[in-house]
């Protein structure tokens, strides 16, 4: 489903001739329904890796193949379509629309495809999924009326509303307390199984990482499998 081949990323740096190398020769594969976690210290390039996989950033070298399509060969519109239909994002900050209700926030990704937005089953799916994450009582609430954990659950449901094949979560529990973090971790694992969505979680939290699946560690730009202690 997803394959990274020798992916590298360099950033230009004021005063530095060769620039700053964040990722080096990253190569791995992820099949449908698989889940992995990526850990590493701050500034190790975890988010950069996730952005490259999600088409939000482009690698300096190497290839990113999604269902055998090379993301480098896609233009911005195709990448946008890919993100909308095949990839779901969950960020550390939920980035919900403050002006919309919980239900509306979940439905936002469906607005890109006008046909889908008008279909009743999408609406029903949103209601069902929000019910599954325990937010049935909050469908018409605004984000400002929810706790941090609740907001992140809404963000997770929003990421999955279009039935993507791949869910990318960037520090999904980074801004949550322990209980909420636990709940989100449970949710991600459960959805990975029930929705058969491949999952890549970037996190500082080893406990979360270990619950997700195989843990890869990003250090000095290199991705290696983390050995269990």
């Amino acid at each position: 489903m997803l394959e990274l081949v020798d992916v590298a990323k360099n950033y230009e740096s004021p005063g530095a001739k060769e620039g700053l190398c964040v990722l080096k020769d990253i190569t791995f594969k992820l099949e449908e329904g698989e889940s992995i976690a990526v850990v590493g210290p701050s500034g190790s390039g975890k988010s950069t890796l996730l952005n490259i996989i999600g088409g939000l950033d482009r690698p300096s070298a190497g290839r990113v193949l999604f269902e055998d399509r090379d993301l480098a060969e896609m233009d911005d519109a195709e990448l946008a379509h890919l993100r909308n239909q095949d990839i779901g994002f969950v960020f550390q900050l939920h980035h919900l629309l403050a002006q919309c209700t919980v239900l509306e926030n979940v439905l936002v990704p469906t607005l890109v495809d006008k046909d889908r937005a008008s279909k009743k089953d999408v609406y029903q799916r949103a209601v069902d999924m929000l019910g599954r994450v325990g937010l049935s009582e909050h469908l018409l609430h605004r984000p400002g009326e929810l706790s941090g954990g609740q907001r992140q659950r809404v963000a997770v449901v929003r990421a999955l509303i279009n039935r993507p094949g791949l869910l990318l979560a960037d520090e999904p529990t980074g801004s949550l307390d322990e209980d909420s973090s636990q709940n989100i971790a449970d949710l991600l694992v459960e959805l990975n199984r029930s929705e058969q969505v491949a999952l890549i979680v970037v996190t500082h939290s080893l406990s979360l990482a270990e619950r997700i699946g195989p843990v890869l560690e990003l250090r000095e730009g290199m991705l290696t499998e983390r050995s269990r202690a």
């Binding site: 230009e12 946008a80 994002f89 960020f91 629309l97 002006q99 936002v108 890109v112 937005a117 008008s118």
Partner: protein, 1105 residues
């Protein structure tokens, strides 16, 4: 969930930001749409005034000082199958019964019911039915005189003489008719009270009288000088068709000619009511019958042979040959004398007879001339053809019984008249005592009014009908002033081509609109920046940048739409205020509020489009960032990146180039004082403004790029911070700079008309008083004789110089007239007089003319039927929309078209509204315009008021109104200054918006950096220190803006500040105060925004971070 729902949610949720945007759009819409509606209102009012002053009139025949048979109107009505009305229109003056209110220049209009049926609206009270006596005043005149129906008024009407007043042998008395009629009614606009043939929106002062009453009292029975023609039901009557009808239906009497039978002499004789027969008529008249004899009879002062004289005699000149008294072979230096004269002088054949006669020059100056003739033969007193009818009906001669009652219009020394002269008068009356050839007579006595006094046809050779038919077939009636002009078309054109006030007010409101649009953009971008992470999220969720942009654009567009709706409502209020201002400027005119739906829609639409463009510009940049940047908040926090330093150099290059351009531009134009120079300096100022803004932009980049150097003070920190959002900072600097530039630069063009107004090269021409009369003054008011004849006190007028100008009425081409003047009033001026005085100064002249001798241009030959003319700058540029070298077409009194070419432009002057041509050309084109109706009076300062009162009193019968030249100039300048004031007020409002923008920038910057400020507090800075830092940062921007604007503006207005009448010291103070007020306003907004931003618990922000 739909995109529409998402937009609605955002509109409601971010209502504060949207309200700000909405208000900014409302302001720009109100000002933009309001300006357009002002334009519509003015144009609508002008068009409405065309209807009000012309009624259903399409065409008008206006012969002014020539009169024709009023019946011609009936003939034309019958021929063209359309209503026609004869009018006898003259100038006059009127006062109320106790002389407490007076109107010096009124139109006395003799009409009958046909006139009102053409012009009055259906259903109005028909006061003209059974109207035999009494006068009807129009509303403005009744208001001025404070009279109503039943009140008595004193009316003096110019009395047209049988002969033009400046014809030799015309008495200069009996110039007007006085009566004390009762006001019968007051005519409203709907009752055709506003009738006028001139395109001027200022209401005329009209006195309507029954035409018969006027004809009888002015000895003009059956005469008229105007015919109004409607276009019939279709309104498609053309001037050509009407003129064809005139050619078909006119009669000899309409040209002032009549044919009578002289039974005793056995001839038919053609004469003119005007005594002299026009050259255009006399030639064809002589050819109209075989054996016709052209005659020119004159009254001479003296006939002298060998020292013996006979005073005051008539002498005739005749075509030689045929039945003429002058034999065919008689030479032009020969003369026939009567037996009576031969006896009186003791003359015999072969003697030399010296003939002394007077001709009338300008200002009725008599010039005695002599001519010698050889006596060819002596005629018996009973010679056929030698009769008293040879003398025309000279007023003052033909109707008196003895010589001592003569008033021939020349000085008569009664002591010279002997008993034998009385006896001759008793026996032979005006029978000529001598005869010369017509050619000789014409050389002596032909004048601009004609070259014959009669044409005689031998009886039996031709009938009166044949002569008349021949003449009518040969002569174009236009040559005697009988031609129609398309007055409605001209009026519509004058209104339609008038300066579109929409553009003027758009120009005046330009900066306010720009400021509102910039504010719209700023507010919107602040709103979008606040939602940058949302935008990033939408991009991450698969929304394309285009879709996100469209979403925000629709959101902004809806806000703009609502703003424009609110703004359109405000525009109506704005228009009403501007109309009030306009009405105050153009006193006496009415501007009707008129808002065309299409204009409202167009204005609102334009404002929406402009606002959307501003929004699109800000969005383009915002949405072009990547989702990653937006989600990370990098867009808001990013400081200067590498490479900006080099880009700063681009701005420096632009600044250098613009500065160089600013220095070179005035040098290229040269040092001559001209409009081009002012333009060059304004261009240089604009270039300097560009340079200053570009330099500021570069400076911000350079400071931003110098991050390696440590900054060790609060001021330094503030300065560094100002480079953080260079776009915003530069927008504030540019907005303030442009505003200050415009307000200061335009403010410098405010004239103080009273500054140096006593100088001859100023707008007053050095004249202290300005006079206009209803009736032409015939005499030279500078000469002792002229003053004596006009009963003026020579002591009072000692040291007073008066320049007299001839006037041909036309459209008022001053800034008081909102119409586009088509044929402006013409003034006949003696250029040498102006030149010797050095009066007025020229703003521009045609190529090759020297400013010092520019008045001489009026005597240049520009080509056949092209007359050079000089006009006031405002008249040529604004009222006429012309420039030097352009031509304006006129029709002369005799229908001949000629062009007036603009060769010189006077600086702002009291002559605004008219064009000046050489008197010689004036007289040639308008020979019947008698006398001088405009006086420019140079009176010593100490007796200005006394002279004004004296002239007004003594020349009351001429309807002379004397006013201060300075006040006249001030009134003209007031219009210009009012527009400058409007610009400054609107520009000032724009600057207030600019200051609010500055405050918003401060507030926004502070809110964005709230955490940083909290950090500074955490490390020990107190609030006062932070306020100082913020103040340094933003006041630096404000000062940069003010400095850029002021420096550029002072450069731009350098020539204007040096010009006479430029802003005085008070003006400089006013400009300084304006700049200070802007600075104060800026400081206030910075303080308010800083206080608001730094209020509350700042450390909480840090904790939440």
């Amino acid at each position: 969930m739909t995109l529409w729902r998402l937009i609605k949610r955002s509109l409601g949720f971010y209502w504060r930001t949207n309200l700000g945007v909405l208000l900014a759009v409302a302001v720009s819409t109100a000002v933009l749409t309001g300006a357009l509606v002002v334009g519509d209102s003015v144009r609508h009012s002008l068009m409405k005034m065309v209807d009000a002053r012309l009624g259903a009139t399409q065409l008008a025949l206006v012969s002014q000082n020539r009169f024709f048979q009023a019946d011609l109107a009936d003939e034309l009505s019958d021929e063209l199958k359309t209503p026609a009305a004869p009018v006898l229109q003259l100038r006059g003056l009127i006062a109320n019964s106790d002389d407490t209110a007076l109107a010096n220049k009124v139109e006395v209009i003799g009409v009958d019911e046909r006139f009102f049926e053409i012009g009055a609206q259906p259903g109005v009270e028909p006061f003209w039915r059974d109207w035999r006596e009494g006068v009807v005043l129009n509303e403005p005149l009744a208001e001025r005189l404070r009279v109503g129906p039943g009140d008595e008024v004193k009316l003096r009407i110019e009395k047209p003489g049988l002969m033009p007043r400046e014809v030799p042998l015309t008495p200069d008395s009996d110039l007007s008719f006085f009566s004390r009629p009762i006001v019968r009614a007051v005519a409203r606009e709907s009752q055709f009270g506003r009738f006028s043939l001139q395109a001027n929106q200022v209401a005329p002062l009209n006195v309507f009288v029954p035409i018969r009453w006027l004809q009888e009292n002015l000895d003009q029975t059956g005469q008229a000088n105007v015919i109004l023609l409607t276009g019939g039901k279709t309104g498609e009557l053309t001037a050509d068709r009407a003129n064809t009808a005139v050619r078909k239906r006119w009669r000899l009497a309409d040209s002032g000619l009549e044919i009578r039978e002289l039974t005793d002499q056995g001839v038919l004789e053609m004469r003119s009511r005007r005594i002299f027969i026009d050259r255009v008529l006399s030639g064809p008249a002589i050819k109209a019958g075989d054996g016709a004899v052209g005659i020119l009879t004159y009254f001479v002062n003296e006939l002298c042979v060998a020292g013996k004289t006979t005073p005051y005699s008539t002498v005739a000149a005749m075509t030689p040959g045929g039945k003429s008294l002058v034999p065919a072979e008689m030479q032009d230096n020969e003369i026939l004398i009567t037996q009576w004269l031969a006896d009186d002088l003791g003359a015999k054949v072969g003697d030399t007879l010296e003939l002394t006669y007077s001709v009338v020059g300008p200002m009725r100056k008599l010039e005695d001339r002599k001519n010698g003739f050889e006596v060819r033969a002596i005629l018996d007193m009973n010679t056929p053809g030698l009769d008293r009818e040879l003398m025309p009906e000279f007023p003052g001669l033909a109707d008196v019984n003895n010589c001592r009652d003569w008033e021939p219009g020349i000085a008569v020394d009664l002591d010279k008249i002997q008993d034998e002269d009385e006896a001759y008068w008793d026996g032979y009356r005006g029978t000529p005592k001598a005869i010369v050839t017509l050619e000789a007579g014409r050389r002596m006595w032909a004048n601009r009014y004609g070259d014959a006094t009669a044409v005689r046809y031998p009886k039996g050779g031709v009938s009166a009908e044949t002569v008349a038919a021949k003449l009518l077939g040969e002569i174009d009636p236009a040559t005697v002033g009988l031609f129609f002009q398309p007055v409605r078309q001209r009026g519509t054109k004058a209104g339609g081509e008038s300066a579109y006030f929409g553009w003027l007010f758009l120009g005046l409101s330009f900066f306010l609109i720009v400021a509102a649009v910039v504010l719209t953009g700023l507010l919107f971008v602040f709103g979008v920046e606040g939602r940058s992470e949302q935008v990033g999220m939408l991009l991450a969720l698969g929304f394309s940048p285009g879709l996100v942009r469209r979403l925000l654009l629709v959101e902004g567009g809806l806000v703009a739409l609502f703003g424009s709706i609110a703004g359109t409502a405000a525009a109506l209020l704005y228009t009403k205020i501007m109309i009030l201002v306009l009405s105050a400027v153009t006193t006496g005119s009415t501007t009707y509020f008129h808002a065309k739906p299409l204009t409202l829609i167009a204005g609102a639409f334009s404002a929406v489009v402009i606002s959307l463009f501003a929004i699109w510009l800000t969005l383009r940049r915002q949405v072009s960032r990547t989702a990653r940047e937006l989600l990370a908040g990098v867009a808001q926090r990013q400081f200067v990146a590498a490479g900006l330093l080099s880009r700063g150099r681009v701005g420096l290059v632009v600044a250098a180039l613009a500065t160089a351009g600013a220095l070179i531009l005035p040098l290229l134009v040269g040092s001559e004082k001209s409009g081009a120079m002012a333009g060059a300096f304004f261009g240089a100022g604009a270039l300097l403004l560009t340079a200053a803004i570009a330099f500021t932009g570069s400076l911000l980049k350079i400071i931003a790029g110098s991050w390696k150097r440590p900054m060790l003070s609060l001021a330094g920190l503030g300065l560094r911070n100002s480079t953080r959002r260079r776009g915003r900072s530069l927008a504030v600097v540019a907005l303030l700079a442009c505003g200050v530039f415009l307000v200061v630069a335009v403010g410098a063009f405010r004239h103080d008309p009273l500054e140096h107004a006593e100088k001859r090269d100023s707008g007053t021409g050095g004249f202290t008083l300005f006079g206009e009369s209803a009736i032409g003054i015939l005499h030279d008011l500078n000469s002792d004789e002229g003053r004596r004849k006009m009963l003026l006190d020579p002591n009072m007028l000692d040291g007073v110089e008066i320049v007299q100008l001839r006037v041909r009425d036309g459209d008022d081409a001053s800034c008081f007239n909102l119409n586009r003047a088509q044929t402006p009033r013409l003034l006949g001026v003696r250029s040498a007089e102006m030149l010797s005085r050095g009066s007025f100064s020229f703003a521009a002249t045609k190529v090759g003319a020297e400013a010092e001798t520019a008045w001489d241009m009026l005597n240049d030959c520009e080509g056949e039927d092209i007359i050079p003319a000089v006009g006031d700058n405002a008249t040529i540029t604004w009222a006429l929309g012309k420039s030097l070298g352009d031509d304006i077409e006129y029709s002369g009194e005799k229908g001949r078209k000629f062009k007036v070419r603009l060769v010189g432009m006077l600086e702002n002057s009291i002559l605004q509204g008219s064009l000046l041509i050489a008197e010689e050309q004036f007289v040639k084109r308008f020979p019947s315009e008698d006398g001088y109706r405009m006086l420019l009076i140079d009176a010593p300062q100490e007796k200005v008021d006394a002279v004004a009162a004296h002239l007004s009193e003594r020349l009351t019968d001429f309807g002379l109104a004397v006013s201060s030249a300075k006040q006249r100039l001030a009134a003209f300048s007031q219009v210009e200054n009012t527009y400058v004031s409007i610009f400054q007020i609107l520009g000032g409002l724009g600057l207030v918006l600019g200051s609010i923008g500055l405050g918003l920038v401060v507030l926004r910057n502070m809110l964005e950096r709230r955490n940083e400020l909290a950090m500074l507090r955490a490390v020990g800075f107190n609030k006062a220190a932070l306020k100082r830092m913020v103040f340094y940062e933003h006041s630096g921007l404000m000062l940069a803006g003010l400095a850029c604007g002021v420096i550029a503006a002072l450069t731009a207005v350098a020539p204007a500040l040096k010009a006479p009448g430029a802003a005085s010291h008070g003006g400089y103070l006013s400009l300084a105060l304006t700049v200070a007020a802007i600075a104060l306003s800026g400081v206030l907004w910075i303080w308010i925004a800083t206080t608001a931003a730094l209020s509350g618990k700042m450390l909480d922000a840090l904790r939440s971070e």
